[in-house]
Symmetry: C2
Subunit: 349 residues, 2 copies
DNA sequence: ACAAATAAGTAAAGCGCTTACCCTTTGTTC
DNA sequence: GAACAAAGGGTAAGCGCTTTACTTATTTGT
């Protein structure tokens, strides 16, 4: 036993180990381990004594060593494209919260939309032996994911989907979201509708699809010229907004597939002396802080972030416990948050 | 050597270890370790062979095991109060970015302003043997930090400071920031100035202090009634804004100590038919996306987030390498981002 | 051509913990 | 009070890697 514990005279620099606790408590390391994990049969008296010593020594078990034997690190990796994007910031927050509740920590990886970083991080997470991975970046390189599959690392696609991958998926029903937006505008009496969509992203296209269906269910075909493409960045959104504002026959309502685009549109409208919602109505998507802070408040489709996160953690942990479970895809329904950016045209007929 | 590697017939479930690589490459594990870390003397031929085998096996070294011997985990913990707050989201992004560049991963912990979570996370991070910790939450419980000190875990306070703690500190010079805001408004000819400040936070009070000094340097005393307290939340900010808007003698300019407050103020002003910047000028602090997206664009004091993050990582790694280095406090100067929310009164004299 | 120097590898001892598996005490039952 | 079962605790073998100390193969100088 001698020689395993604290080197004498170096107490201040060596962190105490299980040997130190054992020695000082006059028990074996097995006993200490058992009180640590509440396993085996240990008398109350011994337990108390050991715990007391741990506190005296300021002992914190080394979870690395534990993981090396126990096989679990209680860490999960989360891959997002951009943590500074309010949507992903909210997502991270929610994921982190549920992870904590179940005793897991999160390694956050922001890929900045770069494929190479995606690879780098996936590699890193594997090296760090995370117990599972949540992926919220659009998969560019299927290879990397196939590696995950083949190495039996549980993972889950969050808020995105890929047909080539048979993994767990937790996502918002974007089609339904788009439908919801369309339906709402129609209900409010709007007939000439435009959309600014992120056509380069699957979710943007799905939202468009839902929107289109809402209209066609109502006997209206979405005019091709009223579909404007834009990525969710301020400059791009400005350009797209101006296109809409200068359309020969201006629509009475616009559906923007992200709140950011919607807010930028509202600003551009104001600059062009077009008032929201008096002259033109706007509806967004995501219900980020932008929607809440905007003036007038932005009516928007809310992704059920908290629910998504809860399911994601739940499903992931489930498949960590039992990798055999066949993969599910869970699609949660978004909901409409009504604020003041859509005018009710019905009173005016 | 036999018996250490892959259990036959279980190749698909056991991840390959250094033993498997060694066996298959016909070398010892020491050799494999050396090519892995590029240490020692290994011939090119052997190196190539080993690398080839690693690829064939899809071998990823277990960094836990490495950390258990090598003493470093290449992981740092980051404690923020709320990852969904745009400022901290940006901070996390920047920190993560610099950490990645230096080969470190980040465990992100969002305390949600709760003391108990702070403790929980600090404990977790110690268990996970992080190499260092960056703390961006205001220290409520000095005890916990003292533990860090006593256990010789390098840590660094980010964008906050505490006089009782002698640790590394990287922060924005809030006083100078407030001064900058005041100076700018004065330069633009404003004399009747108000401030909405987070008086419950040190940074808010320092910004107020700087603002006050700018005025007094100019022979103006900041009127006590023109100092409004508010936390940085929409509802609170609305109330504070209304107080200002209904002041008997309305100020010509307002300094809000966060962008969120500033933007809410702009919205409230608009609702009250007070136009920004025509009737009242506004200047914010932080230069978050809110400022950029606002209409009119919000003139604001930018915290040098990227620089702060760079220094923070740099300093932390430095003290990981060499814990003897005496603690420094680095204060970076904020800068003014000019947009359209402040009117120049000078032309009108 | 041969010792000295250097290059290329290996064996083995941990790192701090978990976990079979084993050995003592006690208490229990008839 | 003999026989047996828990309860309480200890021993020791790893987990996958790094590293020191050491052996053996290959150059190099003269």
């Amino acid at each position: 036993m001698e020689g395993k514990g604290l080197s004498k005279g170096f107490e201040h620099i060596m962190r105490p180990t299980i040997y130190d606790v054992a020695e000082r408590a006059g028990v074996s390391i097995a006993t200490v381990s058992k009180v640590l994990n509440n396993t085996g049969n240990i008398s109350d008296r011994t337990k108390k004594k050991v715990i007391k010593v741990m506190q005296e020594l300021g002992y914190h078990p080394n979870s690395l060593a534990a993981a090396l034997t126990g096989k679990k690190t209680f860490t999960i990796g989360v891959l997002v494209p951009d943590i500074a994007n309010p949507f992903f910031a909210e997502v991270s927050r929610a994921l982190e919260n549920y992870a904590r509740e179940t005793g897991y920590a999160i390694i956050l990886c922001s890929t900045d939309y770069q494929l190479e970083r995606e690879q780098y991080y996936l590699d890193l997470l594997m090296k760090k032996q995370v117990d599972g991975i949540i992926i919220a970046t659009e998969p560019k390189d299927l290879n990397a994911f196939q590696t995950l599959q083949s190495r039996d690392i549980p993972f889950l696609m969050f808020s995105i989907d890929h047909l080539a991958l048979s993994s767990h998926v937790v996502t918002t029903d974007d089609i339904r979201g788009g439908y919801l937006a369309g339906r709402y505008l129609l209900d409010k009496g709007h007939r000439r509708l435009a959309i600014i969509a992120e056509l380069n992203r699957p979710s943007g296209r799905l939202r468009l699809e839902g929107f289109r269906r809402a209209l066609s269910d109502h006997g209206i075909e979405l005019d091709q010229r009223f579909i404007i493409n834009s990525i969710s960045k301020i400059e791009d959104a400005k350009i797209a907004s101006q296109k809409i504002l200068h359309l020969p026959e201006r629509p009475t309502a616009v559906f923007a597939t992200t709140d950011l685009i919607a807010v930028v549109f509202m600003n551009e409208a104001r600059k062009t002396n077009v008032s929201v919602p008096e002259d033109i109505s706007v509806i967004g998507f995501d219900n980020t802080i932008h929607a809440e802070i905007a003036d007038p408040g932005l009516t928007t489709i809310a992704q059920p972030i908290d629910e998504l996160a809860r399911y994601a953690i739940y499903k992931l942990l489930e498949s960590i416990e039992n990798p055999q479970i066949p993969s599910h895809r869970i699609m949660l329904t978004p909901s409409l948050i009504e604020r003041e950016s859509v005018k009710d045209l019905n009173g005016h007929c």
